[in-house]
């Protein structure tokens, strides 16, 4: 199957830099990596394998902040998800992949403001969705964020 060929190529290239591979179905594969390898792997998927960058999603999990980079391989109908777990929740950092593709420009800004992740090397981390006067250190997509109660008297 096409997906097994893709997984093999990635394993041959990166070997023990890959923590875990979960082949979920013939169309989906999840690959866990060390955060430091993200630029190399994203570059390999995007430039060498010709994948399209779908998007990245941040997830606030027990183990830390997970960042999932989703890549679509259109010729083989496969979505490859690369997962980097940032263990230090107080200061999550990962290198930017905007050097590999411009498509990651906006989503890094979004994850930066919603999850508080620093993307090293990305100079443009201005707020994208939140207002300019949003308090510092408050990240609405984190699980510990408490949605403020609406005061019914104020309408």
């Amino acid at each position: 199957m096409a997906i097994d060929g893709l997984i093999k190529k990635i394993h041959d290239r990166f070997g023990d830099r890959i923590l875990k591979t979960e082949r979920k179905s013939a169309k989906r594969v999840y690959i866990d990596i060390y955060p430091k390898d993200i630029v190399d792997i994203a570059g390999y998927l995007f430039k060498d394998l010709g994948c399209r960058f779908n998007i990245a999603s941040g997830v606030d999990d027990f183990n830390g902040i997970e960042i999932l980079y989703h890549f679509a391989h259109d010729a083989h109908a496969v979505v490859i998800t690369v997962r980097a777990i940032l263990k230090d929740k107080d200061n999550p950092r990962i290198e930017t992949i905007t050097g590999v593709m411009k498509a990651a420009w906006w989503i890094e800004r979004e994850i930066h403001e919603l999850f508080g992740v620093e993307f090293d090397g990305n100079a443009d981390l201005r707020p994208l969705l939140l207002p300019d006067d949003w308090p510092k250190g408050v990240y609405p997509m984190r699980k510990n964020f408490v949605v403020p109660k609406r005061d019914s008297r104020k309408g």
Binding site: N54, I55, H70, A72, A77, W106, L128, M141
Partner: protein, 395 residues
């Protein structure tokens, strides 16, 4: 350095549904830099979805966009089905495909109308919006609503297409296609539109790949991608239809892609109605086990992406939604810079973001004197068309 002026457009955009703020830096007529600020109407649907059950999540993602109100629910349902491989009955797949393509038809028609308006072709605007009515009528008959159809659920669809509706759909579709033929001739054979739109706002193939542009925006730049063919869902892999691509990457190519795609959509709907099997429409799944799933579908504007993570309860732990415009939007940096202000209007419209005409746009110079309002930008664009018309001797 030449005399630069900043044109702030927004925070309510004259062309787009969502409020957003544009900053065009211009030297005279020429745009030299552009920046955009969004989020004025951010509703936090990803966060809200974490507090909803899976059935309610589908309901809320339907409200992300009034035009894509079939795309988001299907993508979300597919993501949840992907978690544990829920089977969807055949007939439900056909119904999903039909609503998707009908949605594409009226969405592309809506864009064509608006594009006509910005160029000063108000007849095209009136035609486009009038001729999409048969499709909205079909939707109302089949689903009960012109928009926000509430057709989709995890494991199938909510409503069946009744036998007596099939002939109605075909009759109204023929009516739509007849008008589309006329509109296609009027738009694609018009020398003024050729002069006005060709070579304007070019997105190169390399840039389209670099920005991972999607849908008609990418296909007009020669990037041959279409989720319906590349990541088959519904019943697209069993039907005969073509992916439309153009190589020029300009506004005209984007219009051609959308117009020709409408014919393909009509073909798909016809084939579906012909070959649709009888049977159940819902597999009624009970529990969603822990896991994660991804759903991708081709919305009218490009790929719509949903990621759902579940911990075994009845609501998602994380629900990531990426609409196609999110990827197409940043390509403005490639297309608008170097063009004139009068072309910026149509280039902004060319990726088909969701529009709404709210009049909150002003152009100020350094003395804070108002120069242009929203209407003026549309007027500038329309005047340019008029000049070309006169030059070509077309009335």
């Amino acid at each position: 350095m030449k005399n630069r002026a900043t044109i702030p457009i927004g925070p309510y955009h004259p062309l787009q549904e969502e409020p957003e703020f544009w900053k065009l830096i211009v030297e005279g007529e020429k745009v030299v830099d552009v920046d955009v600020r969004i989020g004025y109407n951010h509703r936090g649907i990803e966060k809200i979805s974490e507090a909803k059950t899976f059935d309610q999540s589908i309901f809320i993602v339907e409200r992300i966009c009034g035009i894509c109100s079939s795309s988001h629910p299907i993508a979300c349902a597919q993501a949840i089905e992907d978690i544990c491989g829920i089977e969807v009955p055949e007939r439900a797949l056909y119904i999903r495909t039909i609503t998707q393509e009908l949605e594409r038809l009226h969405s592309h028609m809506l864009w064509l109308g608006l594009a006509g308006h910005f160029l000063g072709y108000n007849t095209v605007f009136m035609w486009g919006w009038k001729y999409r009515e048969p499709i909205c009528d079909i939707m109302e008959t089949v689903t009960g609503n012109r928009q926000n159809y509430a057709m989709h659920k995890v494991g199938g669809v909510r409503r069946d297409i009744e036998r007596e509706h099939v002939s109605y759909i075909l009759t109204r579709l023929d009516e739509f296609l007849k008008q589309l033929d006329m509109l296609k001739g009027a738009v694609l054979d018009d020398p003024v539109l050729h002069a006005r739109l060709k070579g304007v706002g070019i997105l190169t193939k390399e840039a389209a790949i670099d920005y991972s542009a999607l849908g008609p925006t990418a296909r007009a730049s020669g990037v041959d991608i279409d989720v319906r063919r590349d990541h088959p869902y519904g019943v697209y892999d069993r039907l005969k239809w073509n992916v439309i691509t153009q190589n020029e990457g300009d506004v005209f190519a984007k219009a051609v892609v959308r117009i020709l795609e409408m014919y393909e959509s009509a073909r798909i709907v016809r084939q579906c109605l012909d070959t649709m099997p009888d049977g159940p429409i819902d597999s009624k799944p009970k529990d969603i086990p822990p896991g994660e799933g991804i759903g991708v579908i081709e919305a009218p504007r490009g790929e719509c992406f949903h990621y759902v993570k579940c911990d075994g309860t009845n609501s998602p732990v994380r629900h990531k939604i990426r609409a196609p415009t999110y990827m197409n939007f940043p390509t403005f940096r490639e297309t608008v810079i170097g063009e004139t202000v009068s072309d910026a209007t149509i280039i902004m419209a060319a990726i088909d973001p969701c529009y709404c005409c709210t009049e909150r746009m002003i152009v100020v110079d350094s003395s804070h004197k108002e120069l242009f309002k929203a209407q003026d930008l549309i007027r500038l664009s329309q005047e340019k068309t008029q000049r070309i018309r006169e030059k070509l001797g077309v009335k």
